[in-house]
């Protein structure tokens, strides 16, 4: 058995600036986004599956009708971004814990970052460039307001 290493001299007192560390913000973000997501997802599920005709109401017309409304566009955008960042942050910690080999760690972290960005960009594009009334489709499948155009 080797002897105990020498104790390091105590460091100088450090101000509250140490509070601004990435680890702490990642922890805070996880908690805050989690609480907001519970609310958003509860509203999302209630609106889609409980209100109105419940699960039977979901078809192209219903989704197109919702995405034509800027409120639901921004609601879904917030849900998309928070869910992706919350999930990615959690996955990042799992990779930190379990990927021991440096190359595996780096590969997984980059795969995660790329997947997160791609899904957020793709989802945002869908939300804001969605056409609720595609030309030449069966009017019975489209939301009611398409007739006015």
């Amino acid at each position: 058995m080797s002897n105990a290493p020498d104790l390091k001299a105590p460091k100088k007192a450090i101000s509250h600036s140490t509070l601004g560390r990435a680890r702490r913000w990642s922890w805070m973000f996880q908690r805050i986004s989690g609480v907001i997501l519970i609310l958003l997802i509860a509203i999302h599920l209630t609106m889609n599956l409980v209100m109105g005709d419940g699960i039977n109401q979901i078809d192209f017309a219903f989704v197109a009708g919702k995405l034509a409304n800027p409120f639901w566009q921004w609601f879904d955008f917030l849900m998309l971004v928070l869910a992706m960042l919350h999930g990615a942050n959690g996955m990042r910690m799992i990779i930190d814990d379990y990927a021991r080999k440096p190359w595996m760690h780096a590969t997984l972290q980059w795969a995660l970052r790329i997947a997160t960005v791609v899904i957020i960009v793709l989802g945002t594009l869908v939300l804001f460039t969605f056409d609720p009334c595609p030309a030449g489709s069966d009017p019975s499948l489209l939301p009611s307001f398409c007739e006015d155009i």
Binding site: K12, S15, L19, M93, D97
Partner: protein, 255 residues
């Protein structure tokens, strides 16, 4: 006090039972034709009383059956913290665990605590654990000249960190932590308990030095509140609560 010697012996007789212990052994030297570094399970049958502890059974094995069995123990009464081991998949002190509380009808599984390098049988290298403890500077830090008399403290100020003064550094909490198992970088619950004891001590002035260390990569933010540490602590310290109080201090900047 009229009972005869014979009768009192009968009345005081403790029921005895045969207990099977299944011990995870590690042989670094390769004795009896084994490869050096072999890990294997070995079963022992022990005659034991209902009042016996796991440590008594281990003693019986070592003294009467197999002297090569290696384990640590010092005071044998739950004070020194030497004999933490994984008994029936839970970290406990062998000297504080009664055999009758473990369902002696089934073999009792005894393993070394996890996450630290095993040296022999139930003995692990505690150095990484102690190194984490040293990192958080577990000593009183003050400024100014030392007072001539003791540093006084109100009972309320003392009560603030009472829970974390109970730590005996047995490593049961740290080696029950799933983050400690996977990630060799994490300080582990014990170091945070040790820091908590000084951070919330009104006489100590090094709290921000310690909080700075615990705000680091390997610090409190690695904690996933799995509560394994609180369950494992043989002293009943609310370890996860102590870690959360450190997180709270870091989040609010107030102690």
């Amino acid at each position: 006090m009229t009972a005869t010697a014979e009768k009192s012996a009968e009345a005081g007789a403790i029921p005895s039972m045969t207990v099977t212990l299944k011990i995870l052994r590690f042989d670094p030297d390769g004795l009896d034709g084994r490869e050096p570094g072999t890990e294997y399970w070995e079963e022992f049958q022990v005659e034991a009383h209902a009042t016996d502890r796991v440590l008594d059974a281990l003693h019986k094995i070592k003294w009467e059956q197999d002297g090569s069995l290696a384990f640590r123990r010092s005071c044998a009464h739950g004070v020194c913290g030497s004999d933490a081991m994984r008994i029936n998949a839970r970290n406990r002190l062998a000297c504080k665990t009664l055999l009758k509380d473990l369902n002696p009808a089934k073999p009792i599984m005894v393993e070394p605590i996890k996450g630290l390098p095993v040296e022999k049988d139930l003995i692990v290298d505690m150095e990484p654990f102690f190194a984490s403890y040293r990192e958080i500077m577990p000593f009183l830090m003050t400024t100014g000249t030392a007072p001539e008399r003791e540093r006084l403290q109100s009972p309320e100020d003392r009560a603030r960190f009472d829970d974390t003064t109970k730590c005996i550094m047995c490593a049961a909490c740290t080696t029950s932590c799933p983050v400690f198992w996977t990630d060799g970088q994490y300080f582990g619950p014990q170091a945070i308990v040790g820091a908590h004891r000084f951070i919330f001590d009104s006489r100590d002035e090094g709290e921000w030095d310690r909080l700075e260390i615990l705000n680091d990569k390997a610090g409190v933010w690695k904690c996933r509140t799995a509560f394994n540490c609180t369950e494992a602590c043989p002293r009943g310290i609310e370890v996860t609560k102590a870690i959360s109080e450190v997180k709270h201090a870091l989040n609010t900047g107030e102690i």
